[in-house]
């Protein structure tokens, strides 16, 4: 059996087109993802926001002493970089995108911005808060003048009142999901190996299969060897990809979790290889047609696991969650999420269990459909 396995492994490795699509293509995609999506990692991080302050309609041109400027200048916000400028300078800077907004002080307070974005909304929020506080104090002074000192004291004690909860995972950045989906796709490409190897041991689909059938090798041995070789190669390819993405590109951080990740990849490649084997046993379709079937299945599963557009998996989870429980792509990305993003043992073991169970089920189907094949003529 090991001899057949060795032969199958050699056949698979020597098939250049096969190795290109199952190993080199994911590596190329990982590199492209690194250079493009890598730039998106951390794009939501808060950076510095530059704004100008212009004082209008006042006798003095010095901004110091203007209540609005003092308020902005003394804000406990490290993200705001406020620079006093003349109106012309500020407008030129806004046009050149050097600043995101211009605060106007003096009689008519306002904010001029160049675009609608979260950054300019944050600037307008500062103006809103100033206007609110002023209105509030005026109102209290009119309606309850005796309470004004107390209210003013509370206002002077303005403080931050929120705290962001930290989870076991490292990053909540959704972009890393694309990297997980790419790994899931590579696991799914194991189905190509499973399909080719199955076609290779069937007498009615390949000449090699005919020779094996005519020989003295037991049927279960050739089937087991074909599955094992497909599984070993696809698992090795995923391991290479993981190494490349973790050590060379640094897009994912597997430190301390490598064991659990490898177990998931082993289960995912088992599932994919078995899936390929089942497709390989479907009737007497040509190898080309079976190949097309594997491409369609693996691409659909990858699409449903968010490889192409983010949000597909979420929508499926909302309306037809059963699909996510049988899709090897979704199960693999789920397992990665539960290990690398948000520590969730229950989800990890559920994904692992489903991958292994469904893989074994498909394997059973493939073996049952192949075990007693007899050929009247080939």
């Amino acid at each position: 059996m090991f001899l057949i396995m060795k032969r199958q492994i050699l056949v698979n490795i020597r098939e250049k087109a096969n190795i290109f699509w199952t190993m080199f293509f994911p590596l190329i995609l990982a590199t492209l993802f690194h250079f493009t999506l890598g730039g998106l990692l951390g794009q939501n991080e808060m950076g510095e926001i530059s704004a100008a302050f212009v004082l209008e309609d006042t006798a003095s041109s010095a901004v110091e002493g203007d209540a609005f400027f003092e308020y902005l200048d003394h804000l406990d916000q490290e993200w705001l970089k406020l620079t006093p400028m003349s109106d012309e300078e500020a407008r030129a800077a806004l046009k050149e995108d050097e600043i995101l907004g211009i605060f106007y002080g003096g009689r008519e307070r306002r904010l001029v911005i160049g675009e609608n974005s979260i950054h300019t909304s944050m600037l307008s929020q500062l103006l809103d808060i100033y206007e609110k506080n002023e209105t509030l104090l005026n109102r209290i002074a009119q309606e309850h003048p005796e309470k004004l000192p107390g209210a003013a004291a509370e206002l002077a004690g303005y403080r931050a009142s929120t705290e962001t909860v930290s989870f076991g995972g490292r990053s909540m950045d959704n972009v890393q999901n694309y990297f997980f989906a790419l790994i899931a796709m590579t696991c799914l490409y194991g189905s190509f190996m499973g399909m080719y190897n199955t076609v290779g041991v069937q007498a009615n689909t390949s000449a090699l299969g005919a020779r094996l059938a005519a020989g003295c090798v037991k049927r279960y041995e050739s089937i087991t060897a074909s599955l094992l070789s497909a599984w070993i190669i696809s698992f090795a390819e995923v391991a290479v990809l993981l190494f490349y993405m973790d050590v060379v590109l640094g897009d994912i951080d597997l430190a301390g979790q490598i064991g659990r990740i490898l177990v998931i990849c082993a289960a995912a490649t088992l599932y994919s290889s078995a899936l390929g084997m089942v497709i390989g046993t479907v009737g007497s379709l040509s190898e080309k047609l079976k190949n097309g079937l594997v491409v369609a299945v693996s691409m659909t599963c990858s699409f449903a696991a968010d490889l192409m557009i983010s949000g597909v998996k979420g929508a499926i989870e909302k309306y037809v969650p059963l699909i996510n429980r049988i899709n090897p792509g979704a199960l693999t990305t789920d397992a990665f999420y539960s290990v690398l993003v948000y520590e969730d043992a229950e989800r990890y073991f559920r994904s692992l269990g489903l991958l292994a169970a469904l893989g074994l089920l498909l394997l059973g189907i493939a073996v049952l459909s192949m075990r007693r094949m007899r050929y009247e003529s080939i």
Partner: protein, 382 residues
């Protein structure tokens, strides 16, 4: 014109691939337009409204006031009180921020010193943005409680302050997001269709038997090359008309309103020339159908990823932008960005635009020259 006709007959046989790619692109373009329809420039200032999830454990006057207050600024939805659910909703961007209103919200959190727990991507823009709003609520509530007679009156005043907004003026140039999002993806369509289809046809012409038969004919080598380039150009123009029409139909209103519409179409023509030349190169170099397939994938994906087609140029890092400048897709993406976001083209923008188009054409000439040189070397070898 035997060679010329031969190319057209071969194309007819590959029409299904042509139609397949056009359909895929149409689906992607329509999807992109629908996804970005909410981002259109309204012409006036609009505050960014984020999706926020709220878990109300207090269910009191003040917790309800906070929810109502947040609703004035954001899209608020009530969430299940389960950390796993909240974490997944934040990770999948179903919501960008979650706030957990704890029990005894008034005593311990508004009047006390305890901070309110929130859940979001740590260090993100939305963390700072919504935190600022909640801080404002808590501090305003404190001021109102100190300045009014009853908690009910204070809560009402807090909600009234949510109506107060500063004077914000938006001064911006034109933004044709729909046009940008549709025409931005054109290079992928050109490179995919042309490299797959034309690469495959050109590869057939590299077959030794066909080449020998052609050599045995009365056609000169020069005539063969000119005819093959002419056939490529005819199919390229057909592809260009088809693809640009698909693009125009997808965002017809915005396209016809754009002052730069004809330049957008011209920019499409230059990238089509680049893709056409790349397909000639692929077909001349590849020896098998699998090689054409692999090269076409690597070319189309590589050029589009590194040239700022799939990911906008401003999001690419410095090193990638430098590498991207070697590809025509980079110059196409730069041009389409200029044409979509500027109503008037200043002298410097016009220079940039022409420079971009010239580089795309030069890339096409370089590809054809290399392919012809390779072909000649191969013939001499034989």
């Amino acid at each position: 014109m035997k060679v010329y006709k031969g190319y057209l007959i071969a194309l007819k046989r590959n029409l299904s691939t042509f139609v397949l790619y056009c359909s895929i692109f149409l689906a992607v373009a329509v999807g992109m337009v629908r996804l970005t329809s909410g981002e259109s420039n309204p012409g006036s200032y609009q505050q960014t409204r984020l999706s926020i999830g709220v878990v109300d454990r207090d269910n009191s006057l003040w917790s309800k006031t906070l929810v109502e207050y947040l609703e004035a600024y954001h899209k608020v939805s009530s969430m299940e009180d389960h950390m796993d659910t909240l974490a997944e909703a934040v990770y999948s961007t179903e919501i960008l921020y979650a706030v957990i209103i704890p029990e005894d919200f008034l005593g311990t959190y508004i009047l006390g010193e305890q901070p309110v727990q929130t859940l979001t991507e740590s260090g993100s823009q939305w963390e700072y943005y919504v935190n600022g709003r909640i801080d404002s609520f808590v501090n305003t509530a404190r001021v109102c409680l100190a300045g009014t007679e009853s908690p009910e009156e204070a809560a009402r005043q807090v909600l009234e302050t949510a109506q107060i907004q500063g004077n914000v003026v938006l001064e911006s140039s034109r933004e044709d997001l729909a046009v940008y999002n549709v025409f931005r993806f054109m290079p992928y369509l050109y490179f995919s269709i042309l490299c797959f289809v034309m690469g495959m046809i050109q590869k057939e012409y590299q077959n030794i038997d066909i080449r020998r038969r052609l050599l045995a004919s009365s056609l000169t080598l020069k005539s063969q090359s000119i005819q093959s380039l002419l056939a490529f150009f005819t199919i390229g123009v057909f592809c260009w008309v088809l693809c640009e029409c698909i693009g125009i139909v997808t965002c017809a209103g915005q396209f016809w309103a754009s002052p730069n519409k004809w330049l957008i179409v011209l920019n499409g023509f230059t990238i089509m020339c680049g893709a056409l030349a790349a397909s000639y190169f692929v077909g001349s170099l590849a020896k098998t159908a699998a090689a054409v397939n692999g090269m076409a994938n690597v070319f189309s994906l590589g050029f589009c990823f590194l040239g700022g087609v799939f990911v906008p140029l401003e999001l690419l890092t410095g090193a990638v932008r430098k590498i991207g400048q070697f590809f025509p897709t980079y110059w196409y993406a730069q041009n389409i960005s200029i044409l979509s976001f500027n109503s008037t083209l200043t002298d410097s923008l016009q220079r940039k635009l022409i420079q971009g188009m010239v580089i795309q054409i030069l890339f096409a000439f370089a590809c054809i020259a290399v392919a012809l040189a390779v072909g000649k070397a191969r013939r001499q070898e034989e």
